[in-house]
Symmetry: C2
Subunit: 182 residues, 2 copies
Amino acid sequence: MTSTLGYAILGLLAREPMTGYELSRRLRTPIGYFWTAQHSQVYTELARLETGALVAHEVIDGPGPRDTKRYTATAAGRAELAAWVVTDPRPVPAKSDLLLRVYSIWLADPAAALDMLARTRAAHAASLERFQALLGPPELLVTDPRRADFGDIATLRAGVAYEQGIVGWLDWLCETMAAESD
Amino acid sequence: MTSTLGYAILGLLAREPMTGYELSRRLRTPIGYFWTAQHSQVYTELARLETGALVAHEVIDGPGPRDTKRYTATAAGRAELAAWVVTDPRPVPAKSDLLLRVYSIWLADPAAALDMLARTRAAHAASLERFQALLGPPELLVTDPRRADFGDIATLRAGVAYEQGIVGWLDWLCETMAAESD
DNA sequence: AAGCACATGTAAACAGTTACATGATTAA
DNA sequence: TTAATCATGTAACTGTTTACATGTGCTT
């Protein structure tokens, strides 16, 4: 019954209680955390999770015309999350805007294509560096899989591997296209 | 005006004319081609592309109660595709079912989690092998960026890099979790 | 005779994005 | 006083999936 977005929210609330606003902020940019959502989606999903008794809220002090609500994952919510975690991930319907462009790059102007690829490489190199900075030196790493920060580090490492793969591939692509356009 | 799915369809039709059914079959499983779609989406998008004169069809011999239509990309369609190819890809809203599970893996039963990770590794290792087999020996590779098969090879190489990254990361994850669960 | 591959379409439901709407507090 | 951040929600729209609908020809 619970959607994937529901498990993303539960995963954050299982670590610490948060308001819907804080959840939205965390889910707007994925830092070593491969899921995103808009605030409109978060608020409606929180209401759904609450009718299922997977989360609960208490009203806290805050500004604005409505109550400020602090949400917590219930025991039932944590149990459902723990059970979902070990189920097989459904095969992701691979979608990449960049790959779709490269698939048809033979039709494009080579110089303009190389420019686009160079800009894209720079963007991925920047997020690779950001991920590596967040990860810090290897000797400091938590490796106890029963601690919540293990999930942070493991997903960050996946982010690093992912961006390294793209940057390396883009380097090959730029070199090949530059060499053959003579 | 044209959607990303529209460019996926144009990219296939720019190579060879096809029926909607053949397009749907190609878009159901992404082989070195990072986009998927259902047949219902393909037929409606083909109709939209045709009202924009980016594709055209001729009726050919076929079974069933309706006409069988063979679609071709028009000159305008190929031009629009070529222009889109060199525009910056919008930053993909990174979504991974697997990473979301790993983020909350600290809550799960370690043995069940390791089983899930092993099954997932096997699935990715299998598609890595499939991609490598499709790529064939390196000395045979087309590297002329003005040929359509360059796009096939470039995206396949991206697929290989992607799967290698996941398999390597999953190996690290399994080892770390196995070592620390003593 | 049953089932599958070919072939095309519509309808309903769900997921996700963008825009609308309100209002307090704090910093420039 | 103007803008940003905090804070919550609804509405409209777009994209995607799943289900409904029809009918031929080939294979087992």
